[in-house]
């Protein structure tokens, strides 16, 4: 284990049961990511990209193996501890944005802050700062239906960074966007990585998007490789 690694996954095995059948999605996977890295995770459908993302986010636990993030083995935490840990350390960006349709951009971004002991003024300050970072402060009072796809995704990113987590997990963040909007999102992620030192793991099918990352990792047969499967 490299002492400088921020995320260290060792011997990760994840098995799913489907009826009487067991499917091994991840097989003794090892992964090391340093702080401030920007990883693009690629692979065929069903290769385990989203499963790996869920394990790093603490949404799911490995069948066996350990995932140490910033010195904490999150696989050993119970559900409630993992939830609390996730609140402070992880920002999650979804492919389909998943904003709450009846809340405006400001209220959507504020959501994760409701779990922190902050007063209304402090919450507002942080929400506006996050919206400003994604260049959407003038859309604070717009509902998701009044925003374009690219703008919705930027609100989604603002929601992910508003608690100032160290790690951003992005599940195909440009998958639903046209090239121009997609490029804007990628530029934004690059900025968050380079200027704000966020560690980013981005699942993508798009080589153009993957090219924006510092490193590209491929998932194949449940293992990580730096080389794409030909």
């Amino acid at each position: 284990m490299n002492s400088s690694s921020y995320i260290n996954a060792q011997d990760i095995h994840k098995q799913f049961s489907k009826g009487s059948e067991s499917i091994d999605v991840l097989n003794d996977l090892d992964l090391e990511i340093v702080s401030g890295d920007f990883i693009a995770l690629m692979g065929a459908s069903g290769s385990g990209k989203s499963t790996l993302l869920n394990l790093i986010a603490g949404i799911d636990t490995p069948t066996h193996g350990q995932i140490v993030i910033d010195g904490i083995d999150i696989a050993k935490l119970n559900d409630s501890q993992r939830t609390k840990w996730r609140t402070n350390n992880i920002g999650y960006v979804f492919q389909q944005y998943h904003l709450i349709s009846t809340l405006n951009a400001e209220k959507n971004v504020e959501l994760p802050l409701l779990l922190h002991k902050l007063n209304k003024t402090d919450r507002k300050k942080r929400v506006l700062a996050a919206l400003s970072l994604v260049d959407l402060e003038d859309r604070a009072h717009h509902k998701p239906s009044e925003l374009s796809g690219g703008q919705e995704q930027r609100v989604g990113i603002a929601r992910a960074i508003v608690t100032d987590p160290n790690i951003l997990l992005c599940d195909e963040p440009t998958g639903n966007l046209d090239r121009k909007s997609g490029d804007e999102i990628l530029e934004l992620l690059q900025g968050l990585n380079s200027e704000h030192n966020k560690t980013i793991i981005m699942v993508t099918h798009d080589p153009h998007a993957a090219a924006c990352a510092k490193r590209i990792l491929y998932l194949n047969e449940g293992k990580v490789s730096t080389k794409a499967l030909q």
Binding site: I59, D60, T83, K107, P112, L115
Partner: protein
């Protein structure tokens, strides 16, 4: 407070469904409050009955009369403080639909045993006592027919002919009584039993019942037994019971009001539970993606479940408040729906509180169904479903 937007975000997601749920809840709680007012109209008299009073009726039935001479015999029974004879007049004003209760009573004894129940100007009381044809009326009936002190009115009775062999009887309005007790019947009219007895063509020296005031409210059973024993084997045996029991028994002749009330509401609420419960469960199912996202953000299933329960209770409270308010308005603006058959008609304040309590409980129970779904939700599966 900071979670309020979350609660209302969910409620407002499907406005049409929210309006239908509110409408269903409003109708159910309107029925609850309005039927409660009707029930109170029937049984309110029980609450207003005196704890120290008893009613003596003919043992055969309440329709059979007794000799007025019983009054002095009853007065001699140990423990009896006062006795007032009373008879049912059964009259209406101008039109048969204008029925209301009228009782022929002994003015002084009747008022003495109801001290504090009414408020009447002393001059009006004295005027009534002195006027043989005088009548004392409740303010509700005065307002209904626009009667004032000094008016001379004619009532027609379907039971009693007067000495001129017609059914029209004249009375002078001597006093109008008011009360602060909402359970006291203020739709009634009292007049002199003496006038009634002397003027009627038949049935003289007979009374419908006696109202007795005891010296000690704890001795009602003993006094009742003494009176009934005294008249045992006479031509008119008596049945004496506390006024509360008598009133309740009288109401029960119509039917078990409580059981009727509960069965109607039972059906309404079970239907509502099924309809609203399924609508809210459907709503939560449609929200599973939001719930999965909230779960990823860091909201625990228990927290989301709590928000869901609160949302359900809030919806139930809003719907029930609308229904209860409408019932209160209907009771206040339109009054007795039976046009005078209910002696008292109002929605007691307690009904509103009971309604809100019931709504809270209802909302909690309805909320439990989606909560089970949330607590059983597999986050990974839910996430897979939304991506």
């Amino acid at each position: 407070m900071k979670f309020l937007p979350l609660i209302f975000a969910d409620i407002l997601t499907k406005k049409v469904r929210f309006i239908f749920i509110l409408a269903a809840l409003s109708i159910a709680f309107f029925l609850f409050a309005y039927l409660s007012a009707i029930k109170q109209g029937f049984i309110g008299g029980v609450d207003a009955s005196g704890v120290d009073r008893m009613i003596v009726v003919n043992k055969v039935s309440t329709f059979n009369t007794m000799p007025i001479s019983y009054k002095h015999k009853i007065l001699n029974v140990p423990g009896v403080l006062r006795v007032s004879e009373a008879s049912w007049f059964g009259g209406y004003y101008q039109d048969r639909k204008n029925t209301f209760p009228q009782y022929a009573v002994h003015p002084e004894d009747y008022l003495a045993m109801r001290e504090g129940e009414f408020e009447i100007d002393e001059e009006q009381v004295q005027a009534w006592i002195k006027d043989r044809e005088g009548a004392l009326i409740g303010d509700t009936i005065a307002e209904r027919f626009g009667w004032e002190v000094g008016d001379r009115i004619t009532l027609t009775t379907t039971i009693w002919e007067n000495k001129q062999w017609n059914n029209d009887w004249e009375f002078n309005i001597c006093g109008i009584a008011t009360t602060k007790n909402k359970n006291v019947n203020m739709q009634g009219m009292l007049f002199h039993h003496k006038y009634f007895d002397e003027a009627r063509a038949w049935g003289n020296d007979q009374v419908g019942w006696f109202t007795i005031q005891s010296k000690d409210a704890k001795q009602l059973d003993t006094i009742s037994n003494r009176i009934d024993d005294f008249f045992e084997n006479s031509d008119n045996e008596t049945k004496t019971s506390p006024e509360k029991s008598f009133t309740r028994g009288f109401i029960n002749q119509i039917g078990d009001i409580e059981a009727i009330f509960l069965s109607i509401l039972g059906v309404v609420f079970i239907t509502l539970l099924a309809v609203t419960g399924s609508a809210m469960t459907q709503g939560i199912k449609e929200h599973m993606s939001d719930i999965a996202v909230m779960s990823v953000i860091g909201f625990s299933p228990r927290f989301i479940a709590t928000i869901t329960i609160i949302e359900s209770v809030v919806v139930a409270l809003i719907g029930s408040s609308i229904g209860i308010m409408l019932a209160w308005l209907a009771c206040s603006m339109f009054g007795d729906p039976t046009n005078g058959l209910l002696p008292i008609f109002h929605m007691p304040d307690l009904v509103a509180w009971k309604g809100l309590g019931l709504a809270g409980l209802f909302g909690f129970v309805i909320g439990l169904i989606p909560v089970i779904l949330i607590l059983r939700m597999d986050k990974v599966q839910a996430l897979r479903a939304i991506n």
